[in-house]
Symmetry: C2
Subunit: 345 residues, 2 copies
Amino acid sequence: MYKNLFDTKLSIIQSPMAGIQDNALAIAVCKSGGLGSLACGMLSIDDIVKEIKLIKEATDNPFNLNFFCHTHFNYDKEHHLKWQTLLEPYFTEFGIKCESIPDGAKRVPFNHDIADSIEPFKPQFISFHYGLPDKELLSRVKGWGSKIVSSATTVDEALWLESKGIDGIIAQGLEAGGHRGMFLSEDITTQIGLSALLPQIVNKVKVPVIATGGISDNYSIQAALLLGADAVQIGTTYMLCSEAKTSQLHRLALKNIKSQHTAITNLFTGRPARGIVNRVMKELGYIHSLVPNFPYAAIEIGQLRAYSEKLGSDDFSPLWSGQNTSGCKEISAEELTLQLTTDYR
Amino acid sequence: MYKNLFDTKLSIIQSPMAGIQDNALAIAVCKSGGLGSLACGMLSIDDIVKEIKLIKEATDNPFNLNFFCHTHFNYDKEHHLKWQTLLEPYFTEFGIKCESIPDGAKRVPFNHDIADSIEPFKPQFISFHYGLPDKELLSRVKGWGSKIVSSATTVDEALWLESKGIDGIIAQGLEAGGHRGMFLSEDITTQIGLSALLPQIVNKVKVPVIATGGISDNYSIQAALLLGADAVQIGTTYMLCSEAKTSQLHRLALKNIKSQHTAITNLFTGRPARGIVNRVMKELGYIHSLVPNFPYAAIEIGQLRAYSEKLGSDDFSPLWSGQNTSGCKEISAEELTLQLTTDYR
């Protein structure tokens, strides 16, 4: 009916944002004609099912389920001891004791158990972050008729994804907030601004390309479509919406002038992600070589975060944000989606 | 007559590229209806005058003169000794002796002597990099009726430039090749992709904004104009043109798949600049804390460059390039400019 890959009225996908949203944001975007997404990467299987049911009760429109598919590493005790030594001065400052519990980090890669739980819903769209699951799992999901997309941060990654039979590619410009989808390199200098990345991917692949990174208004949507995008994915711009579960501290940071300075950091999870610069990023450096593997880094720093957030401080919080917060508005996501398609200067 | 700040037929400015161009490229772009630029930052006063005369003989169209206005540091012998120690293994490998000659680096900030030499030509447009010259020099230049633009890499820099009475602002997205125009911060994580930078600057300033970074074809020009740009500045895309003075080694690198990976490095001059990743960047790291001040870093590494280039190697060459070489063509700059305004997928 409509002309984009997702067959939605609007060429807008809401970025899945783990820890910052649940069904409410997805429903609001679906209802307004975009494609709402549910970030499943930090949810238990029970919660995934519960959230899907809530979305399906609220809307008949299609929606997107997002999963991580990072390489699974085991918890490495020795590595964590080094990391704890580095963080020790903060624990001392707070007068708290660090406890390193291997299952304290919640991000699990997509697996057959998860597939079992979502199969009954025959999801129309699934987006992956950090590459793709293995061939068998991917075939299984495609067997349901689900359309599959994943993020590419370089031309190489786009070509790799296309070679695996994917239905669409999310060109993630380095302006984007949250975790970089990068999976063929760990060197963050390989990351490319959307104005350079999008045209190159569009020229190299045959599947539809979804643009993300810095998109904040109708003009930037139109510009991305002009550059050959099939649709755009928008995250940061939704973060102040009433349906988002963005914390109060995070909301304050997004509205503050300090949100002008974000950086890609691996401190919070072990994988590079863009967030607003805060105390721990300034003091340890944005990228640190001693950080444990994803997602275990969150175990220790999460305790510092919990303690300092109780005191009203965001010094140890992952303040995920893209490089452009100018489109953030404290309104409903339905209203925002409408404005995104109609606003003028 | 035309509607952009520069009153040119096309809304295209050729990026000034010190060391990579002379009057020939500027003339070609001027003749095709864009605004050609002469990069004066590495030229002697005699050469600046000679080049201007050649441009004026060839075309009556307006052109742009570009100057650096970095803070001048004195040559610091002790700092250089540390830098030489770091580079010593390379000198040993080549069997050559390092000579550190204070006046071996050619980049001089804009000054009254330069102003004296260009005043007779009453240049219509002058663009600066690294901020602006002091108030008196700026007033002097403005007194000739010259229109002044300079690069902003953050919203803060754009507001600073506007407060100084500038006529236009070049929004330099981090995709751009060559030196970052940054002047209010030395932290390269402050640098922003064009898709996030351009709309924010357009929304915050009243003067015309020129977009640069990753622009390679008619679509990216149209997209930038849609985002509110008055014109675009294009550099990398011109680097294979017959009128450019790009070296053969540099041309080969731009045409090679390795041009997909550029990084911002301070190794070659002491200031951060984007170039294709090569041996010295990989081995020393892209940003090194021991690098001497701009432009003196070039003294020592320039000797390694000269030696290895003679052997046909680009291991120590600054291979300036933006993050998008897909628009580079080995044709004349006149033809390329025409194609930039008419090409379709």
